[in-house]
Symmetry: C2
């Protein structure tokens, strides 16, 4: 039997935030940032809970972590602490379990999500972006190397690179079109606003306790180091990228902005949606032993990911955003624990609050491309409801990602939104 919450909006069929989700975020209240937990259309003030003694039966370090202005201290505590806090919150918010008197005290600590100003959930000390979707790698590779889309290392190495943390912003922040060196074929490079601005649909994993420098994280322990997941839009300027990226990889093409969703869904909330990891086609090499999954049968996550686009004129006309892509995290060639273990395999230290993103999540089917670049494979550009066409993003375009896990027997576990709107470059093109 599925538990219900006394917060009635949490029992709505289409809420992202039922009692079974309880994602963490940081919201502004008064002049302070507090950790909050999403429940239906409300936010439960976790610092308030701690200060009011509602968490008193939890270990002192858990209570203390709940009073911080970022999630890092909670992330550092590890999965036993996370589970204990989650059980407690389920009791406080559950229809059956909440004691009437406690419920009244908790009710005072709810704030409507509508009015809330969300902040970055953690102080992100390190951001790493991977390339874990083979469908993305193949489709993009085909544009550059039609005969040989996948490089020889792809099926052995979970390819990744260091991202930039300073320009990570929370959903809703405007995204300024970057300027950069563009090099049209047969012409000299020039500095101008990027023309080929793209989104990349990704999922991010926040690191838990992490590892000391020099100490790898064995694959059997890697899941213990994942606090939870969020949505990530790794905005990309394809024209800057194609000119700058050799030999050291993407730099200014990416680090002008990365948007993340404000809510971090605990890995535990996704347990009912675990599925087998992507099955490597016959003939593909097995992962090297250090990347060999102990639990391949439930190493994947059945998480639907969607991209919506609304141009400025659509928004002005009140036209609903258009679904332009739908994919699923289960299609990743490399699972999240493999990314964690690979990252630490050389001794590189991961720290609480570090963000590991999957890279663009694309599926095998037409319509599941996680970025506009991949759609160039298709004969037609994206056509919006009002007749506009898109090859890349225009000023005023609003891109919204959604993510959710859904099945008949369980409440929908949603990720909320990850949104950004393009504003024009600071200099003219």
């Amino acid at each position: 039997m599925v538990l219900r919450s006394w917060v009635s909006s949490a029992n709505d069929r289409d809420t992202d935030f039922p009692l079974q989700n309880l994602p963490y975020g940081v919201f502004r209240t008064g002049n302070e940032n507090h950790i909050g937990v999403a429940i239906g259309n409300q936010i439960l003030d976790l610092r308030g809970c701690a200060e009011q003694g509602l968490l008193a039966d939890l270990p002192a370090e858990v209570v203390s972590a709940c009073t911080a202005a970022v999630l890092n201290p909670l992330m550092a505590l590890g999965s036993t602490a996370w589970s204990a806090l989650r059980r407690k919150l389920t009791t406080l918010l559950g229809e059956e379990s909440a004691v009437q008197e406690t419920r009244e005290r908790v009710e005072l600590l709810l704030a409507p999500m509508n009015n809330a100003t969300m902040q970055l959930p953690a102080q992100i000390g390190g951001y790493t972006d991977f390339y874990a979707s083979i469908h993305h790698a193949e489709r993009v590779g085909r544009l550059f190397r039609p005969e040989n889309p996948l490089l020889p290392n792809y099926k052995y190495v979970p390819i990744g690179y260091n991202g930039r943390t300073s320009s990570i912003v929370v959903s809703g922040t405007a995204i300024r079109r970057p300027c950069g060196q563009l090099k049209p074929q047969q012409a000299e490079p020039a500095f101008a606003p990027a023309r080929s601005l793209d989104y990349e649909l990704e999922v991010g994993a926040f690191v838990g306790p992490g590892n000391a420098l020099g100490q790898p994280i064995p694959i059997v322990e890697a899941e213990e180091d994942i606090f939870g997941l969020c949505l990530v839009n790794d905005w990309s300027a394809r024209d800057i990228q194609s000119w700058e990226y050799q030999p050291l990889g993407p730099f200014l093409a990416k680090n002008f902005a990365t948007t993340i969703s404000p809510w971090v869904v605990p890995l535990e909330a996704l347990t009912p949606f675990r599925v087998p990891a992507y099955e490597r086609p016959a003939g593909d090499p097995a992962p090297l032993p250090y990347l060999n999954l102990p639990n391949r049968d439930c190493a994947g996550i059945d998480l639907t990911l969607e991209v919506y686009l609304a141009s400025e004129s659509m928004r002005r006309a009140g036209t609903a955003p258009m679904l332009v892509s739908r994919g699923n995290l289960r299609h990743l060639y490399w699972t999240l624990p493999q990314l964690v273990t690979h990252h630490a395999s050389n001794g590189c230290n991961l720290r609480p609050g570090d963000l590991l993103a999957t890279g663009t999540v694309s599926g095998p089917e037409v319509g599941s491309e996680g970025c506009l670049l991949e759609k160039r494979d298709r004969p037609e550009p994206v056509r919006l409801p009002d007749g506009e066409e898109r090859v890349f993003l225009e000023d005023g375009d609003q891109v919204m990602f959604r993510g959710y896990c859904q099945k008949p027997s369980w409440p929908r576990i949603g990720f909320g939104e990850c949104t950004g709107t393009i504003v024009s470059a600071s200099v003219k093109g």
Copy 2:
């Protein structure tokens, strides 16, 4: 006339730290980290100075920044504040200017450098590594692409990539040989300790106030955003690198460790050693306007950089470290202000304490190669005084960088040491 200090060791001919240098660092004293200033063989406790009222005629925010446990707050204040503090310290430590009574109070705040435990000077929120030496790019490129060593973007784009901050360590920290995927030609990849471990001789620039997201830093203002310089050893595992680096650049080959020197030399201390920027050979394109130096005649820095190597058996036998390379920062194709401006040109925000490294500094001459990889161009391996040979680093090898500016009319401005010793991998090969 050159000013002398009443700290007598600061007047030694071969000290790195005369009155004209006054680099900043962070040292451990009691259970606390204090900002210190190197003077001769002593460290002046800057927090002590602030607390004792010795800086009382400086603006309050400068005094407050001197009491921090890292240099970030001071870096954030900008060049006017830096100059004011530097003038004050010069007065306090100068032979002529110091008042006797003050001098006695300052003397109590000196600690011998010998016993000091140095810390990272700043909390480094972002680390970017560039590729600014054309001699390095050409020599390395020749190994991979003999016909076409330099890629077409090199003379237009100051190539760089995001590094990893978590594994930046201070000079003296042991460096564990990383494990990773190695792919010998004609063999399957395997996970094993790296065999081709290398150093990279670099210079790092700490960012000052920085810029807001979306606001570029014009080239005429870029120097104002450089607080000071340090030495950087960007350790590299060449065998991991060659297998992983396509298409997104170096990752695990680099992020297992980066060593920096503890002392940050203020840019102002280097003024007497400013020289013209590297002269682009005839036929090279001019930099695009946004990278056009306003002061080409003094945009370079005449900074000598040296690499010393001491194997375990040399150290056991008491043999002095061997000089294996000597280069100079003046040979950089891209100057530090160009790196700052390029980095922010897409709106990417730089923050106080961010570290921008030059990439391997190599000169045109034989003997000025900034890493061992480049020496493979030469017919002979490096031969150590006791007869050992080195193609890459062995366990027990100690690598020491030194950097200094020197000319007849001025005291030597030194950078101290940037040292690391290789310890064996955590698993057997």
